[in-house]
Symmetry: C2
């Protein structure tokens, strides 16, 4: 039995070598789980009766290895995040001036403890000063600001384009697919990590409407992948690797927001398809280590984990729920708007700007900087402005926060904030998805915060001017009644929820971000409304929409109702292997001419009596082996009949063949390699149940068998194809909500097509994958 | 199509009426999901084209209903919890004396703001005072203490026995099973809720070694069940009901510890088998509402959600990790010890004390009180003592906390704490599981806290006496180096983790409990060690062990490696229905003589060609209907051949029969009611994969089909039976760790049997279900 296990393991290792080169395929989690279980049990069996020091060490190493890796990954993520924060800060300030003492210091450190009374500092030279034009020449500052921003964005886009195209964008959509079992070679590689880290500092510093949170998740997963693949265990087991990647994504959010529990919940709510307890514990640990390393590095010298320390100590009035509803509705509308138009922009970008990524980024940075500079709420860093918008004015110790706390001039402030909200929304729509590393978390939150603060200021002004209005009866006349900062806080949460469609993690992230739990009920109510409004326009967040846009094989977590049997969706025209009568050449040609990931095996083409399933990689391996070892030639016969004896102790039917294909140069028996137990279902089973199987169990393919006869097969791609068909056809009741959107989008696309003299419908565009993302292979 | 759906829905409703009386059966989640999807889609279809106000209201109500229920449930849980806290407090104090001003006040409120300088208060009359024997006669106080404790426990056990036997015990194990799909009628009923609430106040006040956290979860689920079953939606859909119950369990923990996020994570980690995002969001909301209501009720007049406000402001020294390891090991050993011996006690209780629940509780309370009173750390309420043990001495403003802060007399303190640790451990072992409402959370935490504080005191004493020892080099000589309170904190976390085997939720609960996140790393390390030590003795927590003890059909979340095909486990002797040739009487007799929950349908007994599956309730329904409507008699022929036409638009094959069984009094066609698409697998499929199917998809039965032929069937019970067999047999490598335990237990049981003149082995005992929990029906 041990022997059998060992040989199975060896075979699996050889096969793993081949499988590693299957790009754009999906992982069969059912098989992976079996392989991994036997790997573990064989280690235990091997070492159980061996009481030597080495065996003990091996067993201990086996158990502690994962924790060592998680710790290393967490620490590396924290470190990387701290370095990026420092560099980004410096680059951001470079846009304004430089430090005369030491060019590598940013404004804060340059002026550390030597700041003059009026807030200026001698060591920090503004660019207009550097040109000896005086310290405050607006136009010169503006020009320099625009120049540096454009330079950063261009460099960044160029680096990304040349060294690691995968480093562009947010990465969250792709990681969701990878965690669900999609293989994208290089997406989590070291080059991507490096370019994304370098590029992100510049992209953020260029003041584009992008955030670093999405990329932070991507970088964290790169770190997780790069470190863990140094260990044999994680190279072999896809499930173990998935755990590390899930933990890394939690750590990515944790360092981005200083929010370890929020990170874990984000991984649970948004990223992972499966989340068993051991993954949760690893995610928690990884997020914790990463946050602690970041805190120890202390890149901002605040010594705090909480990014925006606020202390709202006033109570919430009942009438304010009215405005909570307004903010909630705003969040939902904002999300729907951004998702809709950003996707149109993404399609246009795919179509017309595919080869102009660098120029596009340059142009975007140029215009963003040009427009942003005059408005203070757009000029400074988004994270900083958020912190300011969340603050209360009372107890601000004379600080004015860019005029936010002035009691008169509310009108001007409101206009500034409204302009900032609108312009930044447009900026986010056109920028998110361009060929630089970019996230949508922080821009959304910043937009929500400006809007929320604006509402807060308006309500406050209203209350101050009409204190006797019936709504404000509950206000204490001796105290400020409205705290606009809390409205900004709610707005940020609502906008983030609107665009990502995550709820619990947003609540926890907001609390960990601000160290504040007084306003938990208003926050939850705002998010419920946001969610309801958003769902009215379509249930998917932007990450899921990008997945569909790119045609990745991913089933979202939502429940769908189709009301059709799975046979509606199946491929009934299959390339099958027959148990007997096939020749070497025939199989070789099938492999060369198709790109299916596997083939059902049947008794013969006529009866279609179902025997099993054989994977493409196994077949490839066997053919190569047969050719080299057995000198198989084109006419060698191949048999696929598996051993039918039911020896209960034999673990896998390959166990006793030990790398030898039975047969001679005239005859090959591939039978032992046929998987006799793929997941099979009745063709009348509901499609929804099969989708649950794909989501929960994760097989690569589900075979349809009726009365022992193979009827068809279904993959995730087939299900997705069916869903897309439903959505674009008008006949099904269930898809009406989605329809409205795609209708509108289709007509817009049609209009654009007519304009540009091309023909093409939305549907075609939609199913056309990105150039770099080569056509998904087969099933 | 609409018509078809409606009739299906009506039929389902009728069937639901029958199914409701299936006690001790398991829910088929696969079917439930299908039914629920069609219910939802039919509501949408019905109302989509109807633009009237009523249709809009109906749709809106349908969507908001769940939230209304969640809010109501949360509020009721908070309210119930507050009431229990108030009554428990009062009853606890009654043991010591009464309020002369108003008998219904507890000591704290009786003495509210009128406390004298020395801490005494005139209004509060100690029992020895009441007898005019002076205020401080130790023996009299002791006697009264014992008297009241015994009285409370006896009353409680009596009430539980008479009115709601299900109210005894913790309830967590059962709720885990219910959430996984096990039906236990009355377990979550209003009588259970009432008796558990009333009983719990007395049980806790009686100073037994029990906590109120487990029962709090049970009561919360009762509240959830009682409220939600007033709504049609939750009566019909088991999945919706499960969501409400999961949310309720989260709220139960949330109110017990004042820890909303911890509650959600507890529900995720310990309670639920499936935890989709919408459940998480509902749990979060429910927990939040419950906590807020509790806080608004403010039963302790502290105005704080945080139960034990502590502020550890000193840093953690590296050498202290050594003691973290000690505490972690203690947690693991404590857990293993309690689980092991408590289970033995539980078996003895089942065997010998089944009818003596009241006397047992009385005796336990009597001895516990007798022993506990002289030791201050055992006399006062466990929650209170925990809060005291967590505290720092510095900044205690002269408070002495029962001598804990005295600098000399450490020896006496250590002895007291050690005695408290040991005695309370014994108390917990013998008490947990007795026939009163009882939880194991708080006793475990209290034990951990006394042990931790003891270690802390020892380390402190060592450091103070040997400040130059190399270990203490990092201590600042001008400041206290060791904070014993933090050791107590760690000990509580470790002991809780050791006994329940939950990790992330413990971390979060501890932080929400104390409002303290400084010591996150030591806590996590302690828990990792606890977990590792505990796993060495067996991976399951006490809740899972009780599930196995009681023989509930529940697969735990752990991965198992068996390495056998599912055919090893299957029942190959099945009672099947044949497509043709069966008579009415025959079927009626099968139903009467067996208690299987359903029957496979095959072409004939010889070929066993697989056709489908029919449930017991459907069959029962059809037979009754046939008898009453069609006047079927004993010799009426019954056919089970389903319609094989594959009309794609027909949703279920029952859609066009509309409550009419085709046929006459001589011939009945049950074909349309046969489920043609039960989950089937190949008999060679690995058992582990089938277990995954049970866990993830939740079918009631998995049928084994090979080449169109029915080979056998598997239920969760079969899998559990196989697991039990492996564990008690000596042949399998994998079960060695578990073996050691059961070996030991078996020999102990054998010894006891010999003593008592009975025969019987552990295995028999183990598979013997509790009397009240009738034998599980069938498969």
């Amino acid at each position: 039995m041990t022997q059998a296990r060992t040989s199975t393991a060896q075979l699996e290792e050889e096969l793993a070598q081949i499988r590693r080169y299957e790009d754009f395929s999906t992982i069969d989690w059912v098989k992976d789980a079996i392989i991994e279980r036997y790997r573990q049990s064989s280690i235990q069996t091997q070492n159980r009766n061996d009481t030597s020091w080495r065996a003990w060490r091996k067993l201990t190493y086996e158990t502690t290895q994962t924790w060592i890796v998680v710790t290393l990954v967490g620490a590396a993520i924290g470190l990387n995040s701290a370095l990026i924060a420092i560099v980004t800060d410096w680059l951001s300030d470079i846009k304004l001036g430089y430090c005369s003492e030491a060019w590598w210091l940013n404004q804060k450190f340059c002026c550390w403890e030597i700041e003059a009374r009026d807030g200026s500092c001698e060591n920090w030279i503004h660019w207009s000063q550097a040109l000896h034009m005086g310290p405050d020449v607006f136009v010169v500052k503006w020009i320099f600001y625009v120049f540096w921003a454009t330079l950063f964005a261009t460099t960044c886009a160029y680096l990304v384009k040349v060294f690691a195209p995968y480093a562009a964008g947010s990465g969250i959509s792709e990681i969701k697919c990878i965690l669900a079992g999609f293989v994208m070679r290089g997406f989590l590689g070291s080059w991507t990590l490096m370019m994304k880290s370098v590029g992100l500092t510049m992209a953020v510093a260029s003041n584009l409407s992008i955030g670093k949170e999405g990329p932070s998740v991507h970088m964290a997963c790169c770190v997780g992948n790069v470190i863990s693949r140094c260990f044999q265990k994680f190279r072999t087991s896809k499930a173990e690797m998935r755990e590390i990647l899930t933990a890394s994504s939690a750590a990515g959010v944790a360092v981005a927001f200083g929010s370890p529990i929020g990170g874990v919940l984000f991984a649970l709510e948004e990223m992972s398809s499966t989340f068993p307890n051991r993954t949760m514990w690893k995610s928690f640990f990884c997020a914790m280590i990463a946050t602690m390393v970041l805190q120890a590095m202390n890149p901002f010298r605040t010594g705090k984990l909480v990014m925006f320390q606020v202390s709202y100590d006033r109570e919430w009035h009942f009438f304010e729920y009215l405005f909570v509803v307004v903010i909630g509705i705003f969040g939902g509308l904002y999300g729907a708007l951004v998702i809709k138009f950003n996707l149109i922009v993404a399609q246009l970008r795919k179509r017309y700007l595919k080869n102009y990524g660098v120029s596009e980024a340059a142009a975007l940075a140029f215009f963003t900087a040009l427009i942003a500079y005059p408005n203070v709420f757009m000029r400074i860093d988004m994270t900083e402005i958020m912190g300011i918008l969340f603050r209360e004015c009372e107890g601000a110790q004379g600080e004015n926060y860019y005029g936010l706390c002035e009691t008169n001039g509310v009108g001007r402030l409101v206009v500034l904030l409204l302009v900032a909200t609108v312009l930044r929304t447009i900026g986010t729509i056109v920028t998110y998805g361009c060929r630089v590393p970019c996230g949508i978390f922080v821009p959304s939150m910043a937009i929500g915060a400006t809007f929320g603060r604006m509402i807060g200021l308006l309500v406050k002004a209203w209350q101050v001017s009409n204190p006797d209005f019936f709504l404000f009866a509950s206000c204490n006349p001796d105290m400020p009644c409205i705290t606009p900062g809390t409205y900004a806080f709610l707005g940020a949460a609502a906008a983030l929820c609107g665009v990502m469609r995550i709820t619990v993690s947003v609540v926890v992230i907001m609390f960990e971000l601000t160290g504040q739990i007084t306003y938990i009920l208003p926050t939850m109510i705002a998010l419920m409304i946001t969610r309801a409004v958003g769902d009215w326009f379509g249930a998917d967040g932007i990450a899921d929409r990008y997945i569909r846009l790119n045609g990745y094989p991913f089933l979202d977590k939502e429940d769908h109702v189709f009301g059709v049997p799975v046979s509606h969706v199946m491929q009934s025209e299959m390339t099958v292997m027959t148990a007997t009568g096939m020749k070497f050449k025939e199989i070789d040609e099938i492999l060369r001419n198709t790109n299916f990931q596997g083939f059902p095996v049947v008794q013969d083409n006529k009866s279609m009596a179902f025997i099993g399933y054989i994977g493409r990689s196994e077949l490839r391996y066997l053919l190569d082996k047969a050719r080299s070892v057995y000198k198989a030639h084109d006419t060698t016969g191949v048999r696929f009949s598996p051993d039918t004896n039911e020896d209960p102790e034999v673990l896998t039917s390959t166990s006793d063949v030990d790398h030898v294909i039975p047969g001679s140069s005239d005859f090959l028996d591939f039978g032992p390699y046929v998987d006799q137990t793929p997941i099979t279902v009745h063709p009348k089973l509901y499609l929804e149940t099969v989708m649950d199987m794909f989501k929960q169990l994760g097989p690569r393919v589900v075979l349809l068998e009726q009365g022992g006869k193979l009827v068809g097969l279904v993959t995730i791609k087939d299900v997705l194809r069916y869903m897309a068909r439903i959505e674009t056809s008008n006949t099904t009741d269930e898809a009406i909500d989605d329809m409205e959107q795609s209708d509108c989008m289709r007509s817009l696309m049609a209009w654009i097509s007519r304009r540009s003299g091309r023909t093409g419908t939305y549907t075609q565009l939609n199913s056309q994958p990105e150039e770099e993302i080569h056509e998904l292979h087969g099933r």
